[in-house]
């Protein structure tokens, strides 16, 4: 797949604060790429620069090999699905979708054929004459997608398009978006803070934090081989422990020496060790590589979420077998389950579950829910 969009050394500041810092990224033709990161990481700004709604302070933007840094939005072969859809309230469903074609002065026949085709694709046939304000969130979303795709753009930008939908609808729309993208075969650039959404839809994920790209890779790469503590923590649950690489394939952490599969580090180099909660086996204390005391057990449906105190560091373990709180258990970790990362500025900030509490999470969720 050829490079379709390329960002070279893109920087952007608002009021002296850098939102994007020297970003380099290329996007291939036909791929589903997701910019993933917490709010304020610069993902939306990146999308807006690609869409032409913001101009970068530094750097250049290429589209199909041609620089488009100063080309206005309406001249780019890029369309956007906005977070709040931005449908035109003075036009009905049909006219909203026909809008780009009317600007191009297409014939009435062609408009009708193409709008009908689009409505069929987004499963809204029969909604032509409805006012957009009477539609549900999911339906408005579909109209926005149809309107953005009708002029056959080469790239579709989606800015957290599913944020306002409820969970069930969000899952359906995820599948639908992926199906649409595969059917028409154009590039989708998707912005989200939801790691699960990113993992299930994307060909490529770009993890961003503090205006910088942390890692680019396929969902499996990002999950299995996170580059630093930030990525490991942001994508899924992770135990991130300080360790020392003794030699290739041998790492020491939590006062125990483990075999692992990674190499290429200096002897005795300090590293971050990632162990995913689902990769830890619970065994009898005497058979375990590590032993610890269970501090809490929460039933999660598919598994139990167990917090274990191992020499002062709290691990999260997911197990289908129940263990009693206060019990002493052994942990067995296979070499493949251990992932070694270089130390970074995010080391030590993530991956310890000592302050973790479901109850606290729910309380703070309730707080935010009330604010809305």
């Amino acid at each position: 797949m050829a490079k379709l969009i390329e960002l070279k050394g893109i920087s952007k500041s608002y009021d002296g604060e850098k939102v994007i810092d020297g970003m380099n990224l290329y996007i291939r033709d036909g791929e589903f790429i997701t910019l993933l990161g917490p709010s304020g990481c610069g993902k939306t700004t990146t999308l807006r620069i690609i869409g032409g709604f913001e101009t970068a302070d530094e750097g250049t933007l290429y589209f199909d090999g041609v620089e488009i840094s100063d080309v206005p939005a309406y001249k780019r072969h890029i369309n956007t699905v906005f977070q709040k859809y931005a449908l035109f309230p003075h036009l009905n469903v049909y006219e909203n979708i026909a809008f780009p074609l009317r600007l191009k002065k297409k014939s009435e026949d062609e408009i009708k054929t193409r709008v009908t085709e689009m409505l069929k694709m987004v499963a809204l046939s029969g909604f032509e004459n409805k006012s957009v304000s009477t539609l549900s969130g999911g339906q408005q979303q579909r109209v926005a997608i149809a309107r953005a795709l009708i002029s056959h753009p080469k790239v579709l930008l989606l800015d957290e398009p599913l944020g306002a939908l409820d969970l069930k609808l969000r899952k359906d729309m995820q599948n639908e978006l992926k199906t649409i993208q595969q059917a028409i075969g154009i590039t989708f650039i998707y912005v989200t803070h939801d790691q699960e959404e990113a993992l299930s839809m994307s060909d490529t994920i770009v993890v961003m934090a503090d205006g910088e790209i942390q890692q680019i890779g396929t969902p499996t790469d990002i999950y299995n081989e996170p580059k630093n503590a930030f990525v490991a923590d942001f994508i899924g649950e992770s135990n991130i422990i300080d360790g020392v690489m003794l030699e290739d394939k041998r790492v020491r952490f939590s006062h125990h020496t483990f075999e692992c599969v990674d190499g290429g580090y200096e002897a005795n180099e300090p590293v971050d060790v990632v162990v995913r909660p689902e990769d830890v086996d619970v065994v009898e204390p005497e058979k375990g590589m590590l032993t610890g005391k269970v501090t809490s057990v929460t039933f999660k449906g598919v598994h139990y979420e167990i917090i274990v105190d191992i020499k002062g560091f709290k691990w999260m373990i997911q197990s289908t077998d129940y263990v009693a709180p206060e019990a002493t258990i052994g942990l067995f970790i296979e070499p493949e389950a251990i992932h070694i990362m270089k130390k970074s500025k995010y080391s030590g900030k993530f991956g310890d579950y000592s302050s973790f509490s479901d109850e606290l999470d729910q309380l703070s969720d309730a707080d935010t829910a009330e604010e809305f």
């Binding site: 206005p72 977070q83 191009k104 953005a148």
Partner: protein
């Protein structure tokens, strides 16, 4: 609970209702009474039937006020647009500047314009010309535009600044150049502001009497002057009849305009 609340509501609303009855409903009844009686107080249709002779005056009033409203819209819309798109701190200054003349009495402002435009006035003195402006239709239209422009700008400005900023982005994303963004999206979306503005300029322009008296130089009469003359000369019955018909015509036109903007929320502010 509900009942207690509604009692509280009616107590809170009482002064307003009293006010409305005293200053809106009662005067209306008086106007209607005069319109349908003769000088002896007996019921009569004569006043209404005699209105035919005022039709040319009414048409002239309509002509001048429609032209003035149209000019207000031509000047006011771009101004409102520029204001709404300006930085927030600049917007405040714009609104201040626009409101400032409204703090001066309308009559005084009209007198000042007369002093400027008069045959021996400021303008002719400065330019060293002897243009005859006061007494022409142009002067009256100018006066209407000058006096009522803020009433056009403010509702449109409010309406445009309420439009979601994503509308601009969506329009340009879908292929609108800067001009098309305005004509295809922003103007239709600010229609309710335009209709309010048109109403708020058209209604006072059509019924004004001091502007035409001062700037018309006594050479022609608008419907407002006619009504004023009736009341000044004590012909309350004919004055009442003209007022009543004017009111009905204005209500009908507001109704028509409301129909236009029916789909928009908010509708008209009169």
């Amino acid at each position: 609970m509900m009942k207690k609340r509604s009692v509280m509501h009616s107590i809170a609303a009482a002064p307003h209702i009293f006010w409305a009855i005293l200053f809106i409903v009662l005067p209306l009844i008086i106007v209607i009474y005069y319109a349908f009686t003769d000088d002896t107080g007996a019921f009569s249709f004569d006043n209404i039937l005699s209105l035919g002779e005022y039709v040319p005056i009414f048409v002239l009033s309509l002509e001048l006020s429609v032209i003035a409203t149209f000019i207000c819209l031509l000047i006011g819309y771009p101004l409102a647009y520029i204001m709404a798109k300006a930085k927030p701190e600049h917007q405040k200054i714009f609104v201040m500047l626009l409101m400032l003349p409204m703090w001066t009495n309308l009559l005084i402002r009209t007198y000042s314009i007369m002093a400027i435009l008069d045959d021996g006035g400021l303008l002719n003195t400065i330019l060293g010309t002897s243009m005859h402006i006061v007494g022409t239709k142009g002067a009256v239209i100018f006066g209407m535009v000058y006096d009522f422009l803020p009433y056009m700008v403010l509702p449109i400005y409010t309406c445009i600044s309420k439009i979601d900023k994503h509308m601009w982005e969506a329009a340009s994303d879908l292929g609108c150049n800067t001009f098309q963004v305005i004509t295809k999206v922003i103007f239709p979306l600010s229609m309710s502001g335009v209709i309010s503005g048109v109403t708020m300029v058209l209604v006072p322009s059509i019924s004004t009497f001091y502007i035409s008296q001062k700037l018309g130089g006594g050479t022609f009469e608008l419907i407002g002057d006619t009504i004023e003359r009736q009341f000044v000369t004590g012909a309350y019955n004919v004055g009442g009849a003209i007022s009543l018909v004017m009111m009905i015509l204005i209500l009908i036109s507001i109704g028509v305009m409301n129909r236009f903007s029916e789909e928009d929320e908010g509708g008209i502010i009169v």
